[in-house]
Symmetry: C2
Subunit: 413 residues, 2 copies
């Protein structure tokens, strides 16, 4: 059997997904394995055991990232693949896990077929990708890529007060390997889309070419509480209306700026929040995302301009607090094209796409050519026990990952 | 001294306002005398004691409304004046109390001057005007005017579970007088504006010619929770945006329909109310008011039409629950003109105006010619310990009430 005809064992991959989902299982088929909890430790132990069964050389680094090395024919920088196995509190069974277990399945497929690669392969999982217990999210891969000093990361406190460094020691994952133990030749992450695009369009594979920049603001609006009946419209300073006007404005902004711009006001709190009282205060969040940094800055500027006009027109005070700001990430064009070529050869419907969520691959993109493979999320549901990806789509994603890694691992340069 | 030159004793009125405010006093200078509580009983006992000191014949009816009669020269239907002494939980010292103690001060002024009127005068205070403990508000005057059967009103449960009829007995105000014990010749209520118009315009007296109709709805919007980054705008069913769009729409509606129409979205609750999640559900309230019933119906119809379009465009489900609906009330043109003539003679700046809040006078308007006299509320602040009306304005209101009642009490028909 030539390597070009290799296929992963989809059933075996499903078994591992099921076995990992049983650890920290919650009602509805989902998982709760918050980073560095006992359930996370049990999940880690299981994956490490599988790595060892497959003959991988396991290393754990100082921030708890775990790497399983399959040697190559030559001593070249390895091709790395992986993701994370921590989950949010009401997580699904695919988010992150698929990328780690998919890469493990690739290794086992190569083992079974006796295929040796020129470059080593490394299967990785990174600490605290979700950010549900420790901030920031993607912490392990961020430290790995040099974006956050180790010493600072170890001091991070969990939402439950625990120190990250202490929790690593407690669960036995404060490893001996240095940060950046491998300088990869390339990094590829298989992941569920967590959005509705592939499912809605009936497409199996997304070749992820970029990742949206994120701008998060919290707006605080101060108006004046007054009687909803006795106060003429012209004398109102209605913080509730101003909040609604922001939501209405950003929707219009997305229409003006086209499909690359998304905007969400997901959180609005009014005070006193009563039917017959004009709101004195409002707090709301604005989530702006764009794949183009210049356009994202334009969206921020247009919002700022609108807020000034709104404050003046309504006689309210508006202050803004920045909660997060990440520039967009462009994945490596050559790796993306390689994913496309492989997908075409395998005969799966595909499209290029943008990731609207953050992923470890965006951190690895700082230090090596990187890209991602998306498979559909049914109805786009994610961070929810109902998260689902069809078996055929998982098989397809695994096979695209297999051949993408195989080709990368044969590259001379 | 001729009756035309009579003036109330403004200092004495201030003393009574202070003494009543001391009962159930709360921080900041306000009052908490929820209807039929022990504090309400102490307030009632005080006012009844003053009525008796002034020689009034006190009657309490079966719903706890209290009446103090000053006999006239002739046995004609009396002229009635009054308001309420119950307060909201964070009430001011003027709302309601001024109308009752102002009428008492009129009686004492007439007593002191030895003025006898043709018609009897009745000073009244009505049970549970605020509706802060029992629903509906204006309950005592509503029962008095025949709008709610006594038996049904006695069964009403408080927010603390107590039965209204039991509470009346408990505080000793389940009276022997039948409902509708007096059929008034006219009713005049002195009240603080509870809105900013008089204060903003520097005007002392408002001759209230009508009272807004009220339409309260609670809207429930069901969309679909999704990732704020990965979900393209065209695939969203954003209940949070839809809620904001309603607030934005009703603001536009008030611009279209002119100053008679006011609209408020004072309460918005999103679910899950998170920065990076498109809201699955929203609940919001819409408060529409107009002095013209046909226009109020037009506003309701235009909102309903907008909600249909919005639901279709956004792919969300919107249901509406009616929380309250009162038709506008027109006060008696002759009584309003009389207030205007008196005010002009006394030399106070005045204007006609609309009440945006509900008052006992709107219930009395069902059974006799009625109108209201408004005095300014500083900055429009109401239902708040900071509620304030300047002493000079209180004196002016008392004098307008005095001469309006005097004239009405001399009328043959």
């Amino acid at each position: 059997m030539s390597a070009g005809n290799l296929r992963i064992n989809a059933e075996r991959l499903q078994c591992r997904l099921q076995a990992l989902a049983d650890i920290g299982a919650i009602d509805g088929g989902g998982c709760c394995r918050l980073a560095l909890t006992d359930d996370d430790r049990r999940g880690r132990d299981q994956v490490v055991a599988w790595m060892r069964e497959l003959g991988l050389q396991v290393q754990v680094d100082a921030i708890g990232n775990v790497f399983g090395l399959r040697a190559g024919l030559r001593d070249l920088p390895p091709v790395m693949s992986g993701s994370h196995i921590d989950t949010v509190r009401t997580g699904g069974r695919f988010d992150g896990n698929l990328g780690v277990l998919g890469a493990l399945e690739v290794v086992q497929t190569l083992n079974d077929a006796g295929v040796q690669t020129e470059r080593p392969l490394v299967v990785a999982f990174f600490t605290n990708e979700e950010g549900a217990r420790f901030a920031p999210d993607m912490l392990g891969s961020l430290v790995y890529a040099g974006g956050l000093p180790l010493a600072q990361a170890l001091e991070v406190r969990a939402i439950d007060g625990a120190r990250l460094g202490d929790e690593l020691v407690r669960i036995g994952y404060a490893g001996a390997a240095p940060i950046g133990v491998y300088q990869p030749h390339a990094f590829v992450e298989l992941h569920v889309e967590q959005g509705p695009v592939l499912d809605a369009e009936g497409i199996t594979i997304g070749a992820v070419e970029d990742l949206q920049g994120i701008s998060w603001q919290e707006l605080s609006i101060t108006g004046q509480s007054n009687h909803a009946g006795t106060t003429p419209m012209r004398l109102r300073h209605d913080a509730g209306y101003a909040a609604a006007a922001v939501s209405h404005f950003v929707r219009g902004l997305t229409r003006d700026m086209g499909a690359g711009q998304v905007a969400t006001v997901g959180k609005i709190d009014l005070h006193p929040n009563l039917i017959n009282v004009i709101a004195a205060r409002a707090k709301l969040t604005v989530d702006l995302r764009n794949t183009d940094e210049a356009l994202l800055q334009q969206a921020e500027a247009r919002l700022a301009e609108f807020l000034e006009t709104l404050a003046r027109d309504e006689g309210v005070e508006i202050t803004s607090r920045r909660l997060a700001r990440f520039e967009p990430v462009c994945f490596d064009a050559a790796v993306v094209q390689q994913i496309e070529r492989v997908t075409q050869r395998l005969g799966y419907p595909q499209r290029r796409m943008t990731s609207g969520a953050g992923h470890d691959a965006q951190m690895l993109a700082r230090i090596c050519p990187s890209a991602m493979i998306f498979v559909p999320s049914t109805k786009g549901i994610s961070h929810n026990p109902a998260e689902h990806t069809a078996e055929a789509d998982i098989a397809a994603g695994g096979n695209v990952l297999l051949h993408t890694l195989l080709e990368l691992a044969q590259q001379e340069n």
